[in-house]
């Protein structure tokens, strides 16, 4: 399995006996990045930066190049501003319940991520309310309700085929009235090129703001980790439609590397907050930048020689 080999092995091989970063090294690097869905443009950007760094630092060996590589890629990932250590706390300075809205294209893992989030928050002692505002996809409400049962969290639902805005309104209201700590609203999957569906998001947001101005505090865009370059378009359009403040990357338990997120985080300055690593309730982690970069390169500590 070529693409899963360690980058360090490859770099070592490529630079063996050489005194500079030559085309072999760069070709190798290009292959590794592109096959991780990093995309041509971002890959070229990374390569340019590495060339510049190497020029300046007068690189000597593979070990150092490897280090530079990690640093440069990591620097493209926007920093999560919160001081939160484990990624599952309420941001500072919020009055009333902390409200999250979860959005994304079809089938990426929104509902599942919400189920997992509610378990994490509940385990920390927070009172959580979920809003079942996907009233479109067959059995979407049932699905969220089952997650609510599984995690012991209340789900506000008004059934199928009702206006999602009214469900979002009710959910926020219920959360505020019952002194919940956290409210998470699920939405139907929508492709970013469908104007009406994207406009619906603004409407959902406005209806939530009728209960509590300033909500949602966070809009999480869920991206499927196996998505290719289209994720760029998704991020762009969802950013336009609603103020996306964080990303969740799902399905990273497969062989896909989720590399597309590097370009997105860099271009749109959105931090990755969560990663999904399975279908189970515990399979959600706070995003760790360096771990992600390592896993891009085959899952082993690339700075260790053997």
């Amino acid at each position: 399995e070529k693409s899963r080999g360690s980058i360090f092995d490859k770099i070592t091989k490529a630079v063996a006996g050489k005194s500079k970063v030559d085309d072999d090294v760069l070709d190798n690097l290009e292959e590794i990045l592109v096959t991780s869905d990093v995309g041509v443009e971002t890959t070229l950007k990374i390569i340019d930066r590495i060339e510049a760094r190497v020029e300046k630092d007068k690189y000597v060996d593979a070990q150092e190049l490897n280090q530079i590589l990690h640093e440069e890629i990591a620097s493209l990932l926007d920093e999560n501003k919160s001081e939160d250590v484990d990624g599952f706390s309420i941001p500072e300075g919020i009055e009333g319940p902390y409200v999250m809205l979860v959005v994304g294209v079809n089938g990426v893992g929104k509902t599942t991520t919400i189920g997992k989030l509610s378990a994490k928050f509940k385990a920390k002692g927070y009172k959580v309310v979920l809003g079942a505002a996907d009233t479109f996809r067959a059995a979407a409400v049932d699905q969220l309700k089952l997650w609510g049962e599984r995690t012991g969290v209340e789900v506000v639902a008004k059934g199928m085929n009702v206006d999602p805005s009214s469900v979002a309104f009710e959910a926020v209201k219920k959360g505020v009235d019952s002194n919940a700590d956290i409210i998470i609203v699920d939405t139907a999957g929508r492709l970013h090129n469908k104007v009406n569906l994207m406009n619906e998001l603004s409407k959902i947001k406005r209806s939530m703001q009728k209960v509590a101005p300033g909500v949602p505090h966070d809009v999480i865009l869920v991206l499927d980790g196996s998505t290719g370059q289209n994720a760029q378009n998704q991020a762009r359009e969802f950013m336009k439609a609603t103020e996306v403040s964080g990303l969740a990357i799902t399905k990273l338990d497969g062989t896909a590397k989720g590399g597309v997120v590097i370009g997105i985080s860099d271009e749109f300055k959105i931090p990755v907050k969560y990663i999904g690593v399975g279908e189970g309730v515990d399979h959600l982690q706070a995003f760790r930048k360096m771990e992600f970069v390592e896993s891009l390169f085959g899952g082993r500590d690339a700075t260790k020689t053997n």
């Binding site: 693409s3 292959e31 592109v34 096959t35 991780s36 869905d37 995309g39 041509v40 443009e41 294209v105 079809n106 089938g107 990426v108 893992g109 189920g115 479109f136 996809r137 067959a138 059995a139 979407a140 049932d142 699905q143 309700k145 089952l146 997650w147 599984r150 999957g189 492709l191 970013h192 090129n193 469908k194 499927d224 196996s226 998505t227 290719g228 370059q229 289209n230 994720a231 760029q232 378009n233 399905k251 338990d253 497969g254 062989t255 896909a256 590397k257 597309v260 279908e279």
Partner: protein, 306 residues
Amino acid sequence: MFDNLSNRIDRAIKNLKGEGSISEINVASTVKEIRRALLEADVNFKVAKEITNEIREQALGENILIDVKPGQLFTKIVSDKLTELMGGEMTPFSPQGSPATVLISGLQGSGKTTFTGKLGARLKKQGQQVLLVAADVYRPAAIDQLETLGEQIGVEVYTERENKNPVSIAENAVKHAKTNGKSIVVVDTAGRLAVDEQMMNEIEAVKKAINPSETLFVVDSMTGQDAVNTAKAFNDRLDFDGVVLTKLDGDTRGGAALSIRRVVEKPIKFISTGEKLDNTLDEFHPDRMAQRILGMGDVISLVERA
């Protein structure tokens, strides 16, 4: 943001002319541009490399170096090549047997259950006696989802809510179909990762048990570089008969389709273009897909301008 291929070729050709002499090296740089365009469309790295090597050979063979309009010749070569790669003609879907049986497989969230509903609607319209089978025993509300779709299209859905074994559910469903005069059975299964040994064993067992007339692999058209690996792994286990491409109502280029077609050598049988069940399931047209991958509308006009 993504440059389309015609722009790229145009630019590369201008460079050729600027240099005064057209050499093999210049052709190589044009080919490199084409390769990048393919990668941006999510064509698999290795596949893109192979294709562009073939294109270069052909371009040199047709003596593009002395052609007065090398750009146009190049463009045509690329366009023809991709169409050829997408598979010459359409392969019909016509499962045999009484009842005929169809097994649906794929990754999580790729659109299997929705496709099962769509296929059910289509087969019913063709006068078949259809039975849909809910053999996803894992995803919360998966059975409810398929039942809802069955109701919408007026087709019976076979369920065993207490049975957690998809193999016996599928077997029992086929028996049920036989005794109830059904002509075709479509088995929806849970989403699974190709690296999940246990889950891959499970679907292999389902296949063995019912020996389906057709096994279909459902893939999200937004998938990136990993699509090929996944398709290959599923094919190694299931030797599927065809591919279903979903979510093509988005703006993805769909380069994964080309890559799967080339690596797995199985025909693409259906494309799915919406969440609704009616009129969103189409036959696959290789030429249209080839054009989509490269934003080829422009390329064709470029050739015509000549």
